[in-house]
Symmetry: C2
Subunit: 616 residues, 2 copies
């Protein structure tokens, strides 16, 4: 089972890369581009930057203290895609391993001397995930041996201490290595790492212990907090430990934290993290669009967590958030040519950022960069797209569940199903039975799809499907039967553009709306030559509609337009006064073009906003 997450129990069993094959389409194209272009791009940049050379030794060490982890994420991506460069790169890594299993190019002379910031266990976590990917797609080789030695070294060194790492990650990696090898000590080590964090296990730092979730034990926290990627990786590890140890209290605690975070600390895109200073969540309802950090890696971590909670519970809400985050963070994070990336994903850009040819800090999120000084995001995208097919569908004793509507083929429970769809541009999904069996087939119906309809079965004489269920409620549309080749299931999800309003407690976007269509968040963008967005307010009385003639260079893309007013733009000497502002009351009328948020930044430096003030 070629799968990054393979729990021994839970409501649903994931189908792996060997059971789900993506066809060309929104995601199939991106997965192919990742395999053919992005993985090599990442390797070239890390060779050029000297981060791979660190394993060869000899010169001055290059890169940040955690740069080893970038090579490991790339190895994981290569494992999922059976990339021919893997053996040589794994050999380079193996050359730096010490006889007792220790492996780190930054700290080998000064082991574990700075657990708060050193990232040594974090790096092992990514190494182990790469090894699990290799075990499950290929079997034992030099990489997996390196991984076993490293994991054993970690258990030897840390099993009976009270220490942990400033960056969670190794917890979920060790559980997965336990799942892949059967070795109990990896699970026990992961369990101890989860339990000892928050007692506390680390020294205090200027950001405070919440930064690395060492303020409260995971089972006692009520929300995700601190550094967003750290918080979400820890939650993944906690779920994995909970599943393998039968710890229902711990699972329930993470579910409650997820609920709180989704209700109060998540951007419309599914993005998480509001603060730049410490890359953290911020407070409840602190969801400013212009300073949204929404790191690409936090989006990926959120997808990883929701996937685990979906497998554990079967609850569609986890797949709903994962889908939102896939289309609006993951798909946004990488350019259409697979060679540049967003680190931050703000929901408003006030000043066009100039693109940079070289490595740059690039955390502003105004323009995609080919590489970063801290370059977690490109490699994280590579390993996520490399294993994306494993998120699509699951099985349970009574049948197959399709959570993400991606064109491709699924084989499980004796069934072979071909999914045909142009989703998310179209809301029509057809599942054709190629090989039959009896059982239930479930298709997820997202919560925005009010008025969805579902039909299934063999065709009648007029080529219509025989069973029809209209007004399918959100959750899953389920059909049970004795499926034969040629049978079909057809799901229709209404794709009417919709105005979306924020909760009244989200101060930063009061009086504004966003436009969504299907799973996609849209944005207004003003690149060179476009009219500016300053002072624009939209008219809710007129619905947002499909724009004619999208200029999409051959891709299938649905653009939208909304009626708007642009207020006069004269400055006042002091921008606070005794008269209420009257945005939209008087001004130029215009049609505002809206593009999918994931396509922002494709026309060069631009201003952008997801949340649009209302004129009414």
């Amino acid at each position: 089972m070629a799968n990054p997450v393979l729990p021994s129990s839970g409501a649903l069993t994931p189908l792996g890369l060997d059971a789900v094959r993506l066809a060309p389409g929104f995601w199939g194209d991106r997965v192919a581009l990742n395999r053919d272009v992005t993985i090599a791009h990442c390797q070239e940049w890390m060779e050029k930057a000297g981060w791979i050379g660190n394993f060869r030794g000899g010169g001055v060490r290059q890169g940040r203290e955690f740069s080893d982890s970038e090579i490991y994420k790339l190895l994981e991506a290569m494992a999922w895609t059976d990339h021919p460069a893997l053996p040589e790169l794994a050999g380079t890594v193996a050359g730096a391993q010490e006889p007792d299993g220790y492996l780190n190019t930054r700290w080998s002379g000064d082991r574990y001397s700075d657990l708060e910031w050193g990232h040594e266990l974090y790096c092992y976590g990514h190494l182990i995930q790469a090894g699990v990917a290799r075990l499950r797609t290929h079997g034992e080789d030099e990489l997996t041996q390196v991984v076993r030695r490293a994991a054993d070294h970690v258990c030897d060194r840390f099993m009976d201490t009270t220490e942990t790492d400033g960056h969670p990650e190794i917890e979920m990696a060790l559980v997965e290595l336990h799942r892949a090898t059967g070795a109990e000590r990896y699970l026990e080590m992961a369990r101890r790492f989860v339990e000892r964090r928050g007692l506390p296990a680390l020294g205090d730092i200027p950001f405070g212990r919440a930064y690395f979730q060492d303020d409260i034990p995971a089972r006692r926290a009520t929300t995700f907090r601190g550094h967003a990627v750290r918080a979400l990786y820890l939650a993944c590890g906690a779920v994995d430990v909970a599943i393998e140890t039968g710890d229902t209290d711990l699972l329930a605690a993470v579910e409650a934290q997820w609920e709180h975070t989704v209700a109060r600390r998540t951007h419309l895109t599914g993005g998480m993290g509001s603060r730049h200073a410490d890359e953290s969540f911020g407070e409840d309802y602190e969801l400013s669009p212009d300073r949204a950090y929404s790191e690409t890696c936090a989006g990926i971590a959120s997808i990883m967590l929701s996937h685990r909670l979906l497998l554990a519970t079967g609850d569609a809400r986890y797949a709903d958030l994962a889908e939102r985050t896939m289309y609006n963070v993951l798909a946004t994070g990488v350019a259409l040519d697979g060679r540049s990336f967003f680190y931050a994903n703000p929901l408003q850009v006030r000043t066009p950022a100039e693109p940079s040819e070289g490595m740059n800090l690039g955390q502003g999120g105004g323009v995609r960069s080919p590489w970063f000084t801290v370059s977690c995001c490109p490699n994280n995208i590579a390993r996520t797209l490399g294993s994306l097919a494993a998120h699509v569908a699951t099985s349970s004793p009574d049948g197959v569940q399709i959570h993400h509507h991606m064109a491709g083929e699924i084989r499980a429970m004796g069934l072979t199903l071909r999914v045909e769809t142009d989703y998310p541009w179209s809301g029509d999904v057809t599942v054709r039975v190629l090989q039959g069996a009896s059982g239930r087939i479930a298709l997820r119906v997202p919560p925005w799809a009010r008025g969805a309809s579902f039909s299934y079965g063999p065709h009648d004489a007029d080529a219509r499907l025989q069973r029809v269920s209209r007004e399918t409620a959100p959750g899953y549309a389920v059909a049970e039967g004795e499926w034969r080749p040629g049978d079909e299931l057809r799901l229709h999800l209404p794709m009417t553009p919709r105005w979306t309003h924020p909760d009244h407690r989200i101060d930063a976007i009061r009086g504004s709306v966003a436009v969504e269509r299907g799973p996609l968040v849209y944005c207004a963008e003003s690149a060179a030559g476009d009219p500016p967005l300053t002072g624009v307010a939209v008219h809710l009385a007129t619905p947002a509609e499909h724009a004619p003639d999208p200029d999409s260079a051959g891709d299938r893309v649905v653009e939208l337009e909304a009626q708007a007013t642009r207020a006069p733009s004269a400055d006042t000497a002091w921008p606070y006064g005794q008269d209420a502002p009257d945005a939209g009351a008087a001004g130029e009328q215009l049609s505002l073009r809206l593009v999918p948020y994931h396509r922002r930044g494709n026309r060069g430096p631009a201003t952008m906003r997801v949340w649009l003030p209302t004129a009414d």
Copy 2:
């Protein structure tokens, strides 16, 4: 003339500490507390932290690389207040000076090796300002000799290079030393420091060169940008150079930058700086209340700049902003007991912060701290309150101008005037002539004082003033005459609480209002035992009114109240939906108590907001 800024030309001449004496009142009390308590508090903390000990040498150096500057700011405060501890502290500093004038406890072994971050010239700037204060209040002594040697060393070392410091400050200090000593080389050195910045003069840094204003020469920039304190200190130096060299273009450039910044990058409190990550301004209209950084030192720097522009031009708008910033940033920055301080001054606090007994990072702005790791703000407050009286009034060839209505006595142009007022709690200001002369007396009328009235002259038989001018326009109320002892001028500024709306382009506070009264911004606060502020929305149809019975522990304080609604607080699973929020439409009705913003945080940990959603 005991004055921190003494230009050789300009529209107005400042009156120094020898010409303006503050009486008990809002500011007189704070100035006395500063002299009697805060200065000793700062000295104790810096002795305890080892920052003073750095000058004595011997042990491991303590504190950040710029900690010398803190001792210099405190020396300046001591100079203005003729503090008895000055000579000994100055002697300690003198002991660390090297034979060629170099003086820095961090970098002496490695001089000028990191101009971007080393702060050596920044430290000299504060040292020189302390020396100027000493020269003008006392005359030559050991401190002023140290300062002359240091300034000469700087001129020797930097006159003919292309270098400058990562933190502007020395520019204005050198101009003032030129003014105080007549030495031309200090002015020339200051001029070169101003001119070479932005060519660029410094290496690039991850924050980008705009962080230290090395992206564009000062005379070509259109707005303040980057690190707020750096930007405003540089602008002060540029104005000083412009005045002394007759560079009207440079002066006009800074005035235009001030205009842009006030219109687009300034919080309602007068606070400047929106970003925590790099303590910078952020973009136009990026004015989020919860993440407002609004560093106390940036407020002080803004007051320093507006004071300089007021002296140069005589334009009341500069005094207007300075007053707003004094009452809402400077007065907020220090507790009522003079022993704890705010570093950041956000306009919204979502989560009560716990107070800390020790030194803390403390940049969140939720609670005042006795000291900080970076402790610029307490010492900056100390030197500013120590010289505050020098901001009150000016003279010009035709008379005296009173810019800030503080109770006290003013002597200038042959006049002795006693100002009697309970401002800002009352809007009545009486200026009594104690010693007469002929000339014009001008009293500033702030722009919010619609319907102000003004009367002056000798009393008639019914004890009324003989000359009355009603409906005085904002700017200055001016009376000309042959003033005799017993004559009076009476200004009445209406103090009706008012709703204040933001410009429609300030996204973060759309649909919200603030309440102001006179120069004071108000806020709602929820300390322990108070009802929470979540979901509260105010009714504009009912005006804000004076609250009965303010609990102000003997101080004179005007509190306010507004009618409001509190919406039900149930969470939704996902905080974005197809229904418009209806804050205020249904919910509990309440009277919302409002306190002056500068008194926030006086009742322990609390949530707080200046901008209140509107229910209507």
